[in-house]
Point group: C2
Chain length 343, copies 2
C-alpha cells in the first residue's frame, strides 16, 4: 500500500487528508506515475461538430488531425470518441496528451492552432479546441486495474502499486497534490468573448475537468449483459442529467462519449467528460445528487455481486486548472457547446 | 443560515471544514443549542435484558428506575425503547440525559449506581449501564425539523436556525466543535474486566456513539405506508447488518430500538444506537457500505418524492468520548451485550 501523492510532490501540509492514518481501502486501486522530471502535461480536446448525415464531410478534418498527430512533437497518446449533444449534433472529439508543454507548443503552433481554421463556416462543420495544461500538482488519476492505462496515464511512466487514498468521499481531492496546501476554491467566472469569427473563453481560476471511463472489452457475456442492462442505463441517465441540467449543480457541460476507432467504429469503451465550476461542485454532485447516488448504487451492486471476477475496467482523471492553464476556442459551433454554456 | 458550531465554541482552527465558504445546503436542518454555561452533559443508557416471557419480572426494575428518575437531581429528560438482540433476548433501555455532571453524580450515587444491583442473578434479568459524559466540544446533533427535540436536544435551551454544515459527507465531523483542532482518532482498545459479579470496560480513547432516530407520528396514511414499506425494511436490514456483522467495519454493537411509552406500548418512533471504534469508522460505513448506501438511497427517494410535504422527522446525536468520559457495567448479561463485544 502506497500513498497516492508521489514522494517528490509531498509538501508540508497545511490541510489534512480526509481519512486517518489507520485507513485502508476495501479493494485495490492504482494511479498513474510520471517520471519526476515531468512537471506539466497537456490535455487537448479537438472537437468536430456536425449534423447527422454529414459524416463524409466530417471525415476530411478527422483524417487530417489524425495525420498531424503523428508529426514532430505530436502527442504521446490520443484517442477519439463520439456523442450526440443536446441540440442533436454529432460531436467527434480527438483527445490528445503531451507530457512536455514545450513540445506541445511547437506542435500546436505548426498543426494544432489551425484546427478551427479547417473549413469555412458554410461547410456546416463546427470546430472547437479545449485545452488544459495542468501542472502535475493539479490532477489525479484512478484505475481499477493497473494493466491498461487510459487517457493521461498512457503518457505516464507506469502505474503505482495499490494506493491508500480511494474508496471514500474526498479521496479524489486527497490524491491531488495541491490539496496538501490549497482548498482549490474557484475564483471568477468564465466569460465568452468573440474574436473575429470565433468564440473564446476568458477563464476562471480552478476550473475542474473530469474524464471518467468504462472499458467492458474483457467482459464475458453474462457480465457484459449485467453492465449494459443494469449499470449503463443508470450511468446514461446521470450523464443526461449533467448535460441537460448540470448548471443547477455547477456542471458547465457534460459529454457522455462512445470511444471509436480510427475508422469511426465504436469499441467497447466509453467515458464521460465534464467541466465544473469547482472540484467542490463535482464532489457535491458525486456524493449526494440522486443521479450519481443511483450510479454509485448500481456500480456497487454490480461489483459486489461479481467480486474480484469483474472484468469491467473503470478509470478517471480529474484536473483543477489555474486560469492561465486553460484555452477554449469555438468556431461555427452552437451556443450550448462545451464551455460556451458557462459564459 | 448559521454555522453549526456555536460562537462560544469557535477556536483557532488547525483543521479545515470539508466544504468551502461558498457551500450552501440544499435543504434545511437544525442543531440543538445549549446555554453557553453548559460545558458537559451526561448520556446514560440503563438497560434491562431478559428472555421473552419474563415481562412481569422485568416490570419491577423498570418501574423503579422510572420512579428514581424523578428524584432530586434526576435527568432533564429520559425515554425508553426496546429491541430484541442477536441472542433472542429482549433489551429495554431507559435513556437519560443531564446537562450538569455534578447533579448527575449526586443522582447516580444515590439512585443510579444501584441499577446493576437490582436483582440477584438467578432472577434471570440482566442489567447494564452505559454512560458517556462528553464535554460539549465532543458531540453534535442534527434535526430535520426544529419544533420537536429528541434525545440530548431536549435538555438543550433550544434549536438553532438553519445550519450550513449538513447534507454532505463529513458534515457530522464538521459539526463537532473539537474537529476544529483534532482528528479524534481512536487510541487503545476496549478491554473487558471482571469485578466481582459484573463485567466492566476499560475504555479506549475517542469511542464514538450515534443515536439516530425516526419519528413517523405525524405522517398521513400514504406517507406512513411509504415509510413503513419502502424505507423501514431497508433501514432494518442495515441495522441487522451492524448488529450481526458490524465488527467487520468498526461497529462494536448496534441496537435498533422501538420507542415505547411508560406502559411499554410502542409509539411511532424508533432509533438505532451504535458504538463505534471511531468517528472515522462510522463515516466510512455511512458513506460507502452497501447497507447504508441502500438506506441513504431509499431515504433520498422517499424525501425527494415527498418534498417539503414530508412529515417524517429524522434526527441524530453523535458523540466522540474521551476514555475518562465513559463508564460501562454489565451484570448477568450475555457476552454479546453492548460493549462486551468489543473486548
Amino acid at each position: 500500500m502506497e500513498p497516492a501523492i508521489p514522494e517528490h510532490l509531498v509538501t508540508v501540509r497545511t490541510r489534512h487528508r480526509r481519512v486517518g492514518a489507520e485507513y485502508t481501502p476495501p479493494y485495490p486501486c492504482f494511479v498513474a506515475r510520471h517520471n519526476p522530471s515531468v512537471s506539466q502535461v497537456v490535455m487537448a480536446y479537438f472537437g468536430l461538430q456536425f449534423r447527422p448525415g454529414r459524416e463524409t464531410a466530417a471525415a476530411v478534418p478527422l483524417a487530417a488531425i489524425a495525420q498531424v498527430f503523428s508529426e514532430q512533437d505530436g502527442p504521446g497518446h490520443w484517442d477519439r470518441a463520439r456523442c450526440t449533444d443536446e441540440e442533436g449534433f454529432v460531436n467527434v472529439v480527438s483527445v490528445a496528451y503531451w507530457n512536455d508543454p514545450a513540445r506541445f507548443q511547437n506542435w500546436f503552433a505548426a498543426h494544432g492552432a489551425g484546427w478551427t481554421e479547417n473549413e469555412p463556416a458554410d461547410a456546416k462543420l463546427g470546430f472547437f479546441t479545449e485545452i488544459l495544461k495542468p501542472a502535475v500538482e493539479r490532477y489525479e488519476t484512478l484505475f481499477s486495474a493497473s494493466d491498461r492505462a487510459e487517457g493521461v496515464a498512457v503518457i505516464a511512466d507506469g502505474m503505482s502499486g495499490m494506493v491508500r487514498e480511494h474508496a471514500y468521499w474526498g479521496g479524489m481531492r486527497d490524491r491531488i497534490p495541491l490539496s496538501q496546501t490549497d482548498a482549490m476554491e474557484p475564483a471568477g467566472a468564465p466569460r465568452v468573448v468573440k474574436e473575429r469569427d470565433r468564440l473564446r473563453i476568458i477563464p476562471q481560476d480552478n476550473l475542474c475537468l473530469i474524464r471518467s471511463g468504462q472499458d467492458w472489452t474483457d467482459t464475458e457475456p453474462e457480465e457484459r449483459r449485467m453492465y449494459l442492462e443494469e449499470v449503463e442505463p443508470v450511468l446514461r441517465s446521470g450523464m443526461d442529467f449533467l448535460r441537460d441540467e448540470g448548471l443547477s449543480c455547477g456542471c458547465f457541460a457534460n459529454r457522455y462519449m462512445q470511444v471509436i476507432d480510427v475508422e469511426g467504429r465504436p469499441i467497447e469503451k466509453s467515458f464521460g467528460v465534464s467541466w465544473w465550476k469547482s472540484l467542490s461542485a463535482l464532489e457535491r454532485w458525486s456524493e449526494s445528487h440522486p443521479t450519481h447516488v443511483a450510479i454509485f448504487g448500481a456500480a456497487m451492486k454490480y461489483l459486489s455481486s461479481l467480486g474480484p471476477a469483474a472484468k469491467l475496467r473503470l478509470y478517471h482523471e480529474v484536473t483543477v486548472a489555474a486560469a492561465d492553464q486553460q484555452f477554449f476556442e469555438y468556431r461555427n459551433c452552437h451556443l450550448k457547446t462545451g464551455m460556451l454554456k458557462a459564459g
